[in-house]
Symmetry: C2
Subunit: 106 residues, 2 copies
DNA sequence: TTATATTGCAACTAATCGGTTGCGTATTTG
DNA sequence: CAAATACGCAACCGATTAGTTGCAATATAA
């Protein structure tokens, strides 16, 4: 199944999972406690997150700890970069407009 | 229908549309020429993008120009902000590790 | 006015999604 | 060893998605 980061973060539950494990690794059971849905539903989300490499596993006995692959988040940042350039440019243009108004007031 | 920016950018065709109209406004027909699918399919994507306010319309005779609402893109940036903090912190930690190694070499 | 062009909207369809229940496997505990 | 725990995987289900075709509405051109 073709998956990408943008599809992964489209679901609000998955964004919540990302936020949860961003700072410390957690097991599926521990994560599921934060949601109303079943453990299996959470597990399915984790599978999707793993498939697109937004999350990595660390096996520890019969437990599996999931943690955020922060490097993959930069992919979204890189995509946003081109648009950040646009809004920064527009801001500068606005800046120019404002200083032009100022100059004319004198 | 509940829509948000993250759902909007989940679809690759919609991301392509966003990239197309980022710099200049375009009509649905003009946009559709860039894709293999029909004009109606593109129109549907434009409706979704409009619904979540990622795109705005400018009526001009019988033509409708669509352009990017760059302000809405910042919403994604704000969401990413918390994770940017994490990877910047990790980078600083790595920096500390590196300087510790350097110090020990002396 | 009649014909043409640009577009949105509705109905339909196949595929995918997010969720469920049930089961198999592996590890820990009594 | 047997029971309990932690987890993944498969099958199924209703809702949503992305696409299609067809048609109505509006604006321009002949």
């Amino acid at each position: 199944m073709r998956r990408d980061v943008f599809q992964a973060i489209a679901d609000p539950t998955r964004r919540a999972i990302i936020a949860l494990i961003a700072l410390q690794a957690m097991t599926p059971n521990a994560i599921a406690e934060y949601f109303d849905s079943t453990r299996q539903a959470v597990s399915k989300h984790l599978r999707i997150l793993t498939e697109c490499e937004l999350v990595k596993q660390t096996h520890e006995g019969r437990e599996i700890y999931y943690s955020l692959e922060i490097e993959k988040m930069k992919e979204i940042d890189r995509w946003l970069e081109q648009y950040r350039k646009i809004w920064e440019t527009r801001f500068n243009q606005l800046d120019e407009v404002l200083s032009t108004i100022k100059r004319n007031k004198k």
